[in-house]
Subunit: 228 residues, 6 copies
């Protein structure tokens, strides 16, 4: 697994912000809180959390990438929906009150695993933002809102070997690729895909075992970064 | 599991077409073949398969739905990417030659499971289209191009029970929801999500077992419909 | 004239639905009713009727057609405006109360005359939807809202002969092409166009005579289908 | 009928241009010629003619109108298609050679009948543009390309009376409204619509008679303006 | 400097309108007043002024220009923002009351300097529109709202010479190009750009001197046109 | 003037990159080089330079900002055009050969002066990118392509005082606001605007003097950062 680092409070204005690195993959994650909820939650007393995923044009080798224009491409849309679902699993929306947490993940540098790095960094930014919300709402701390620790890692089978946290080169060569998101000891999302080849139940189990180990280590780094 | 039916050759023009029903969910699936490939495959000799997912405005209760306008919503984009990947797993693209297979899945009536019904029906339309291609290209039959039988089913945990092929009511109440796509005996896609709750490895295994049984039955119905 | 058939109640959810066939041209027509009116009718007490026209990508020979994307093309926009005007002529909007009737016509298979088949089928779906509205509003029956029976047919001059209900081949070869919509004994819309040639008043009269005969026969088939 | 005037050569650059007035309705019409044809005519040797319809934001009373933004509304699209078809009827496309004539009609002031004024003025601009083309191509004059004189007028039934060339007030009160385009003695387009009421064959004939008289007078004014 | 002319009241409906010519550059300027303000001024009691810039497709030589489609290009956006800022400098927004003045500048013919002609003509249309507003609001005259006379001119360095009011040919050959807008004796906007070369402080001063002389002459023509 | 800092080589992939800070305003600037030119320069042998300006959603206080969607707003478009023109003044495009330099400026944190910080940082990224191009093309160094050093600063009149490098608070209170871009000792762009008040020639001269002093200091910091 590549080196995972988290640098908090990189921006002045968002309630929470961090730069997360999984090797050369680096993502700017922010959490901001607004006093409004989407129409379908008006009058419900519940809060909401939503995510957006962007990318800087100089993030990769092989030439500058075009900015998202008239519509996000399918891949970006999938990723931001995944980030949103994963972090909603971490939060007790009924305790938030009528606020919306916006998670923004902007890829600064891309080398595979941007979605799992985003989820991992966004949870740290979310923790800091909820600490500020707790102060405002007179609660003891962010734990009041948080149902569990959330982190994610990619796993895959490359040249017949199970690999954890695939970089771009691994990812391109993987015959099976799976993103695993956990909340505490349980799973939140499992997305395995075998476009270059199919996979058996046994291989699926090996991949899940590797993800368990990887996420355990990432959990530790998140807690260390937050001092909890 | 709900009753699954397949009605072939419902349209004159596409090389393959069928109406697939999973209970009250009904999807019009077509496969058409064009003598062209996307730019990234020019000169490669390989073929391609891509899918689009649409929905008729009168497909559901609770009022007419708006047509997809300026951009497909995130959910539709995810589904059509899933259908495309799943069926590409079934086809040997290097044997197709420089043609593109277009899969179109248009939801006629929606009651949960439209993506799994779409994949299941699209494989039947694809089989018929490849039979025509085989004739044109002087091959023995569609098996020349087909790497395996593909079908899909949704499984979930509803009120603590594992349920196979969730209708809309089940789907709304499920705390875990998983779509499983198989090709032959292996897995192609596993997409499990627990927005209303997380799930353990043991529950994941129970869900996969239920999907195995469901897809086995659907495989039988596909073969019966095709007379193979 | 080609064989005209009408199959009612093909979908569970819309208040009225039918599959209309004019020869190989087949259109899915639905009518749904919502408890709202457009802004310009708020506070007026009147209702509204509007129509949308779509097409399935596998509807024709000569290859798959692209889905309507960022904007409807001019032809589709014209057709849905024509369908809307034609059916509004059939309904007493002041009696509807503050509801909107949405007509959706989705071309399942295209072989000329999709707009006239759409209007013809949509009137049948509308009749069934208004029967349900009558029940809800405590009126005797759909006749309370309906000002007249509406049907449409295309007529044209092909190789010097007047033809009624042109299929695609006729349509391509016609030097004059006219769509006629009637409500009861009167005309609602006459749209004659002579891009490949102009036409005289006498020819116009022959076309209108042919349309009268064709619509008379279609009226009979509509009534038979509805049992009225 | 309102006073019809035509002022030619109002702009320096287009091959033909005129300001046409039907009473207070005023339209800037231009015809420009480019040495290219649309893809479907490449290699055919034939030319093409196409039209666009725009509107200045200060054209009407009742407040400024918004500019056409992301898409032309349905009405504008219908009108520009009508203008294009009507003027294509006037031109022998096989004699043009591989050029495209662009007709632009921009409404300067609107008081009913903008589409019929546009067609009438555009024919004059077209005549002047084809005179220049004839010079370039060494033909005797614009008559080499022109199949007939084209003009248009609206007719309607207002308070039970047949009216020719409806202004905005008439148009709003008309129970039947018909646009008639002629080329020489024949009809090119007849578009009658009875949204506020239906109409009989006899009424249709009265409307066509009125249009014949009106277009006869407009033909005279066009010829006078061109000095032919 | 080219001949500058102003023709007022060219349209019936806008509160003020004029055709402004700077040589062969001609722009249709209108000012309309609506009883509403943008959201950020609601409840403020202040009014607003905004501008839009459009172009007719036949405005230039070198072929027909495409209409602005899905988005205004960067140049048009810049110009309309400049027009708006320049004329807001001329108006006491707190005296207008809760109304919005819409300025529309549509280029009829383009030969360099369309933005400066637009500002110059728009001020005249604005003056006439504010005269009507004064009548409605019971004020003595347009001077009640107007803080100063506004006009604009372009200046540049062409072949080492300072030129005032550049036509298209000058503009293409200028190594420095500057647009100067004045309100009374003061400057409102100075936009100097040296893409084809840089410029010294001394050259800047020479350009500003030339603009002073040019705007002085244009002020005289504006007042003459308005009879003030 | 606020503290100006430049941190180079913050990203792996672009040929040049830096984070520029003007006080709390921070912008990520990158320069990438592609072996292609826009259509209007094909066959010319010349190169091109173009710029894009983006903003991270968490860049300001007062709540999260929405991402640029279907179209860039007018302000962003103006800024990126200004950045592009300013840096083109620094480069000898005829010496580049057929390559395009893409400048991307993404605002990380905004507190006034983002456009002048962008130009200043982009020149440093450009210098580094041209150093790499020089190596590839066998030239002595980046000076081969560079016509001059480019930097920018904003100046304004706040409460009657001339201020250099306005932060957001100053900017909101300025009655005159001017952006000055220099290349060597000369001016490239002067954009002065007085929406909240007009300004005299004398004030203009004071503003330009202040800009001269500020840019002199920024030039020094750029050279120090590059070690030249």
């Amino acid at each position: 697994m590549r080196s995972v680092t988290l640098e908090r409070d990189i921006m002045m204005h968002p309630a929470g912000s961090c730069m997360v690195s999984f090797g050369n993959t680096r993502v700017i994650c922010t959490a901001t809180i607004e006093n409004d909820v989407p129409p379908f939650l008006k009058e419900s007393g519940k809060g909401w959390l939503t995510a957006e995923y962007g990318m800087l044009p100089g993030r990769t080798g092989g030439g500058r990438k075009r900015r998202d224009g008239i519509k996000k491409d399918g891949r970006s849309t999938e990723i931001q929906r995944l980030i949103g679902r994963s972090l909603r699993a971490a939060v007790d929306l009924t305790r938030l009150g009528p606020v919306t947490v916006f998670i923004d993940c902007d890829v600064f540098q891309a080398d595979g695993g941007t979605r799992t790095a985003s989820i991992t960094g966004a949870w740290v930014a979310l923790y800091d933002a909820l600490a500020k919300l707790a102060e405002q709402q007179g609660q003891a701390g962010p734990e009041y809102y948080i149902k569990g620790q959330v982190a994610a890692v990619s796993v895959g089978i490359v040249n017949g070997q199970v690999v954890c946290d695939l970089d771009y080169e691994h990812d391109s060569g993987a015959c099976v690729d799976m993103n695993v998101v956990k909340c505490g000891d349980n799973l939140v999302e499992v997305q395995g895909t075998g476009e270059q080849g199919t996979f058996s139940r046994e291989e699926l189990n090996q991949l899940l075992d590797a993800a368990d180990r990887g996420i355990g280590e990432i959990y530790r780094i998140q807690r260390e970064s937050l001092g909890i």
